[in-house]
């Protein structure tokens, strides 16, 4: 212990475990980047899932909201978890979400769209892959706000669409996401710099048409 420091229990891990629990402290350490880039990305994706869960739980209030407002709500949630995160920053063009970690020398870029048509989603994805992502990093995310019924069928269709070589997305393969809900999956693309770039696809379920009042 260094001299002249107030070495009380508030300086120890026990104080933090009492506040956040052991897993909570591990998560914060991961956000700080102590356990490397994979663990940082994993906790970021978990936090992103929680932000999306919050949006989904309030679906009835988002029916007329634009994608910018919903994206800002996700960004605010991440900011509350102390990420260095910006919405609509200028990063080789205007990305929707940018999370940076200077110590890990990492940038995670997210593109968000209300699902209207597959070509529109594809355009967003192409922007992310071939414009915003320099290739120095290899992970990003596509967030699709889905107001339609049967999001599962839409997700299946989107996966097939991604593999269409005519759409110039250079998709190498589709993989299941083992950590999120069933409305997440990964697509791996060949980035122009030669690396494999992984996109995590997030389907935000905002369909709201209650039938409890139907006669």
């Amino acid at each position: 212990m260094s001299a002249n420091e107030p070495a009380d229990k508030d300086a120890t891990l026990s104080a933090l475990i009492a506040l956040f629990g052991p897993q909570g402290v591990r998560d914060w350490n991961d956000r700080a980047g102590l356990n490397g880039r994979e663990r940082f990305l994993a906790v970021l994706e978990r936090d992103l899932d929680l932000a999306i869960r919050e949006l989904e739980s309030d679906a009835q209030h988002h029916q007329d909201r634009g994608e910018d407002l919903m994206t800002r709500m996700i960004v605010s949630f991440l900011r509350g978890r102390q990420y260095s995160v910006k919405s609509d920053p200028n990063e080789r063009g205007h990305t929707d979400i940018l999370v940076e970690h200077q110590m890990l020398n990492l940038k995670w870029i997210g593109e968000a769209k209300i699902h209207t048509a597959y070509p529109v989603n594809a355009k967003g994805l192409r922007q992310l892959l071939f414009r915003y992502a320099s290739g120095a990093d290899d992970r990003g995310g596509l967030i699709l706000y889905v107001f339609n019924e049967n999001a599962l069928a839409m997700m299946d269709h989107w996966q097939k669409y991604l593999m269409d070589p005519g759409l110039r997305m250079d998709t190498l393969r589709i993989e299941p996401d083992l950590h999120g809900t069933r409305f997440r999956f990964l697509s791996i693309h060949k980035h122009p710099v030669g690396i494999e770039f992984t996109i995590r696809h997030h389907f935000v379920l905002l369909h709201f048409a209650p039938r409890d009042r139907e006669s």
Binding site: M1, R79, V85
Partner: protein
């Protein structure tokens, strides 16, 4: 190779929005710094107005290589206009004589907590605005004498003479602002170093504010402010959460025992420190303190395993540590970026 200002300007003129964005991005910080010690708020608007005035004036077309001179010239005019509009009832303000302190009293920089830097910033605001602009362009923006001459539309010889005069005025004013002129003597003889520190402070503050838009003083900035105000280079290797609470109490004029043991405060500081690690200002460490007062720094993965399994073994002796989490102190080290703002002591 990066395109020059003149090349970007040319492409912007020909309709490339991207080139325009890049140019604005490249010079935004400099313009912010220009306005930050002179106006209380609305800096973003003034920067925007400057770019607009710059493009409209088209003076720069005669010599696009002198981009920065023309840009600061536009900023200087916008500043004049601002003074005319606000509080002066449309009258021209004589910037050769009036001071910022007279126009707009009150401290500007959040981070300038250290006595000598606060005094220098205050000193700058206490000399005529024209002198202030001259010194800031020379020391903060590293503009050459000929470039400043272009900005202020005066001969280079006059710039040199005025620089000399402005330094003398700053020295005289700052000495009257403090009861301990020796605090300032080293800083005044090395204005270059001081200018570098001002730029670093500004860059850090700007970085944090960009991540926390809309918050008057983000928590993380309060924490950095406390560390910069109370920390020293020597003590920068061992900053604990209770020490940060103590520093925050001191700079925010609370009793010494305020928030001691306050779990909400501990949580807030820990969380803000997480963010400060992400932006490269702090680094977090764990230290096992033993009963015999010896200690050892623990690897991060060892701590992670202990948090996962609920037990810790001494990495040197292999001994099982009872009540292990009470024996592991979290401390932070200032990184080089933050260390540069701390005093030598």
């Amino acid at each position: 190779m990066e395109p020059s200002d003149a090349e970007l300007l040319d492409r912007w003129q020909k309709g490339s929005r991207e080139a325009g964005n890049e140019l604005v991005e490249r010079h935004y910080e400099s313009l912010e710094r220009f306005f930050v010690n002179k106006v209380p708020s609305g800096i973003g608007d003034l920067v925007h107005e400057t770019f607009q005035a710059f493009l409209e004036s088209r003076d720069w077309m005669a010599d696009p290589g002198r981009f920065r001179s023309y840009l600061f010239s536009a900023a200087y005019n916008v500043l004049r206009g601002q003074f005319r509009e606000k509080g002066r009832r449309g009258n021209e303000v004589d910037l050769e004589n009036v001071t910022m302190k007279a126009l707009d009293p009150g401290p500007r920089s959040i981070l300038a907590e250290r006595e000598e830097r606060r005094l220098l910033l205050e000193g700058l605001r206490s000399i005529p605005v024209a002198d202030q602009v001259l010194l800031e362009l020379y020391y903060w923006e590293s503009l050459k004498v000929a470039e400043i001459a272009k900005v202020l539309d005066i001969p280079s010889g006059t710039v040199k003479a005025r620089l000399h005069r402005a330094r003398q005025r700053l020295k005289a004013i700052t000495n009257t602002l403090t009861a301990a002129p020796n605090v300032l003597s080293s800083t005044l003889t090395d204005l270059d170093a001081w200018a570098r520190q001002c730029r670093r402070e500004h860059d850090i503050e700007r970085r944090i504010r960009k991540d926390w838009p809309g918050e008057p003083v983000p928590e993380a900035l309060r924490l950095v402010r406390a560390v910069v105000a109370k920390g020293t280079r020597k003590g920068a290797d061992y900053i604990t959460i209770p020490l940060m609470i103590q520093w925050l109490n001191e700079i925010e004029n609370r009793p010494a025992d305020a928030h001691v043991g306050d779990s909400r405060m501990i949580a807030e500081i820990f969380k803000s420190a997480t963010y400060l690690q992400q932006i490269g200002l702090l680094a977090q460490y764990f230290e096992l303190t033993r009963e015999d007062a010896s200690s050892v720094i623990l690897d991060d993965d060892l701590v992670d395993e202990a948090l996962s399994k609920g037990e810790l073994f001494d990495p040197d002796t292999g001994e099982h540590i009872e009540d292990w989490s009470s024996h592991v102190v979290i401390f932070y080290m200032a990184t080089e970026a933050l260390r540069e703002l701390l005093r030598e002591r």
